[in-house]
Amino acid sequence: MSADTLDVPGLGAPADTEWETVVGLEVHAELATETKLFSASPNRFGGEPNTHIDPVSLGLPGSLPVLNEKAVELAIRVGLSLNCRVQPSIFARKNYFYPDMPKDFQISQYDQPINVDGWLELPSGKRVGIERAHLEEDTGKTVHIGGGGRIHEAGYSLVDYNRAGVPLIEIVGHPELRSAEEARHYVTELRSILVAVGASDGKMEEGSLRVDCNVSVRPLGIDRLGTRCEIKNVNSLRSLGRAIEYESRRQIDQLISGHPIEQQTRHWNEDDGRTHALRSKEEDYDYRYFPEPDLLPLDPSAEWVEQIRQALPVLPRDRRQSLAEAAPTVEADHIALAVERSMDELALAAISGGGPSERVMTHVIQNLADGVGMLSPESLASLVAMEEAGELTATQAKKVLAVLVESGGSPQKAAQSLGFEAMDSGELETLVDGLISEHPDEWSRFCEGDNKLTGFFVGQVMKTTQGRADGKAVTQLLNARRG
């Protein structure tokens, strides 16, 4: 083994090597405040360019930042819901020249962030470590004119500072994700938490949630981390997955062909489905961080933090747990889906109102994808009870449910209005006996063990009753007659 392969995990590995992808995510979320992080102009998406501006967000000489209390509260909410330690923190200046930065430095938190050492639990139960979740200000926006709007070919650019100074929380996760899918789950879960605690609207398409991903690869079983690349411009969950898959494939191919990975920042291009190098580690910028002298240390009192903790809503993870306990036989991803769609409260209420959990969850997952409308938990509970008692077939129940979603009311009334009157067992027996004598050949083949004919008889019953009968009850009856 050469020295190179010792240093670089997987360098020159055989083509049939099994690889592991290692992903760490940095998520920036815009906080749902009324005003900016350090000034009173509105924090609002869109609007005419340069209309949400004030001396601070424009970096005018003589302007001074003053910290927004709500942004701090939201940051603490995020920290607590990510199981972080909330600590005394300070703001720092990150110095670099760029026209979308009004002061040519960004006020961020550097070596003393507000939230540290937390974790996030994926629906699978896996815990991903959170290094920190800190406060910082957003930049303005530039549009590039000419050259197809691409930054490198543009003739000139225009700058809008509406977004400058919008509060961000940057959540830095440990590199503990192992696939594109896991990364998507992480972002989905993080977004649900941010939305649940009211910290952010989580809209990736409006840029209020932005993801940078650090990707590296290594042969399975190797402990050392490979050289990572940071991928920017990932604007949706779909491109997150695609970008990670592309990038890990690229790195694997490069290592197999004997070339080490260069630490780079890369740009995801949605159109060609590739990542492109922006700059390498050697070009690393010297940000000259130092404590922001215009702001005071931030030291939230223990009482305030406790008050915020008390007021936190139940988090997705705990909601999943409650639902899983109430519906122990239902698959985990169905439980997760119900919580993600915020149907867990309905499901829990229906189950505790006496509805059998599996049937409740079947409706929640399969038949209520478009929302619950006028449906109350009580009527969902009595609907599944009717199904359980054989008063409604699955097909009928689905139709009744649609009526309940549309206009509310009780399932009994809805079933009646649809003409779904349950057949009593005597009526069904008479019908089945009639069919047996009408189709002697089919009956004898069925009696000889040809079970395919179950379908024939059930079909005949349904045809005659126009779907009123319960297929399961018919099958039971046929088997009983066969003896």
């Binding site: 405040t33 009324e34 005003t35 000034s39 009173a40 102009s41 509105p42 005419e48 360019p49 340069n50 209309t51 949400h52 501006i53 004030d54 001396p55 424009l58 003053v66 910290l67 927004n68 209390e69 709500k70 942004a71 701090v72 300070i90 670099y96 020249f97 760029y98 026209p99 979308d100 930065m101 930049t139 530039t142 549009v143 590039h144 930054i151 490198h152 543009a154 003739g155 000139y156 650019s157 225009l158 700058v159 809008d160 500072y161 920017k232 740009h267 922006l278 700059r279 070009e283 910028y285 010297d286 940000y287 000259r288 404590p291 002298p293 005071l296 240390p297 931030l298 030291d299 939230p300």
Partner: protein, 88 residues
């Protein structure tokens, strides 16, 4: 250092400044000899913390007034020559 500060110095300036900066750095180097081990750095002379502002919208600047001060403006925005690359 000049590039980092977005300054371009002429040869004459560079000559003059280098000597002057060396002299200053020599002088301030006296702080290096001081034993300040264990002392916390002072960022603020006064021990105050936690000034917070309520999240209430206030006045915004008039865009035309602001853009009238801009070296070049277009379409309600500040116009700049090509930026060349993404932020570092």
């Amino acid at each position: 250092m000049a590039a980092l500060a977005r300054l371009e110095l002429t040869d004459e300036e560079l000559d003059r400044f280098t000597g002057q900066l060396d002299e200053l750095l020599d002088h301030v180097a006296e702080v290096e000899a001081l034993d300040v081990e264990g002392l916390p750095p002072t960022m603020h002379a006064l021990p105050i913390a936690n000034l917070l502002r309520p999240d209430t919208p206030g006045e915004v600047l008039d865009r035309d007034e602001v853009l009238s001060q801009a070296p070049v403006a277009e379409n309600g925005q500040f116009r700049v020559p090509p930026i060349l690359g993404e932020a570092p």
